[in-house]
Amino acid sequence: MTEVDNRAIAITGMGAISAFGEGAEALWSGLREGRSGIRPLRHERAADLRVRIAAQVPESFDPAAHFGERALPMLDRASQFALYAANEAVAQSGLDFAAGGLGGRTGVVIGTGVGGETTQDEQSRRLYAENATRLHPLTIVRLMINAPASQISMAHGLRGPSFAVASACASTNHAIAQAALMIRAGLIDVAVAGGTEACLSYGALRAWEAMRVLADDTCRPFSGNRRGLVLGEGAGVFVLESMAHARARGANILGVLAGVGMSADAGDIVAPDPAGSGSAMAQALADAGLAPEDIDYINAHGTGTPANDPTETRAIHAVFGAHAPKLAVSSTKSMHGHALGASGALELVAVLGAMRDGVVPPTANLDVADPACDLDYVPNQPRELKVRAALSNSFAFGGLNAVLAVRAA
């Protein structure tokens, strides 16, 4: 017990912003009710685009209501999301970083696929379309991929090791793993970690169109009529603490990050390999000291592409064997969309919510059976289920996999 406890990390705060609006509770209540955040695309060039739908942070999000006049010009939309979510998570944790030098023993690790994409896109438009020769002076500090981590560190006085982690759609899970490993190593007592993405620029949308992986109707993970992924955006940020630190201050522990597993397919740049994703799941279990039978729920990567869903299903079978059919497996991307580098963060909110409320969020829009997807995907209706422990899967383009193992406090 003591040995396991030294490896376990307490999650004591969470914050999020998503297609369901502001706050982790808004996200979780949407997911637990099986509601969809996917809407017609809002974009100034929507009429020109073939992308028709997305899971975007609602227009009601007003950055000026959350950030000061001096801070705002430095904040790309990706940093706005990250800072919003971090503020919420820190407030929930009840930590005072100014007291006792805690800020010096706290790090920030934020995953993002592309960082300040909308800043880059807008400045490129000025440069090439308008032939401007002068760009906004804060262009660099807005678009740099570490900006979200830096802004959180500055806002809260966090002076420990802080940096960005990039692994496309697995960025959040890799970031949380780095934070957890630093806490285990004794480098820091606390980490503010998660992921953010806000990359629905004209250029990025056109690039996604060219890749031909986007659904035109909705996101239907594991369904025989799935037509691809639906892009999303948002952020989720968590406060992680060593178990000793959390217990010593009597913190309310939302869940225990028990283990992490990471691997690379080292194969195709986009086609997923069940050996790679399976290895990450198996490592997460082993790192957590959990047996397959201990897991009740898997929040799947579940993108809704033809390639991912059967491959992920095969990987789960390979790792879980006879226990696989007993697992509840759901893809909440069917509701919050694929927020890319932030998706693992939105999905960790779903896992912690499921553990707290004893309700597993469904896979929405699953209405046609696919023989290659034969697990229990909790189709369309949320399910009451006590979740003792869960995995959260993220598998990125580039063949980079990161899995979190979480258990109830």
Partner: protein, 92 residues
């Protein structure tokens, strides 16, 4: 877009694009070959589609086609259909 081209002319151009992308002899391509048969997998297939779209200034539908397993004949048919659909280069 200019005049619709003959089917033979379209076929020759599609074959040439595939041969270049797959780095194979054009003589090895048959109408009934699939891109997969020709060793053109996943992302390479998307590049072939892109090259064909650029070459003919057309746009293939996003859905309903599995480029890995569709035949070269289907690609030729799709070019013919896209050209017949109008001269706006398949503008969206």
């Amino acid at each position: 877009m200019t005049e619709p081209q003959s089917i033979d002319a379209i076929r020759d151009q599609v074959f040439a694009i595939i041969a270049k992308q797959a780095k194979i002899d054009v003589a090895t391509i048959r109408n009934e070959s699939t891109l997969k048969d020709l060793g053109v997998a996943s992302l390479d297939a998307i590049e072939v589609i892109f090259d064909i779209e650029e070459h003919f200034d057309i746009h293939f539908p996003d859905q309903g086609t599995n480029f890995d397993t569709d035949t070269v004949q289907h690609l030729i048919d799709a070019v013919v259909a896209a050209q017949a659909a109008g001269g706006e280069g398949g503008a969206q």
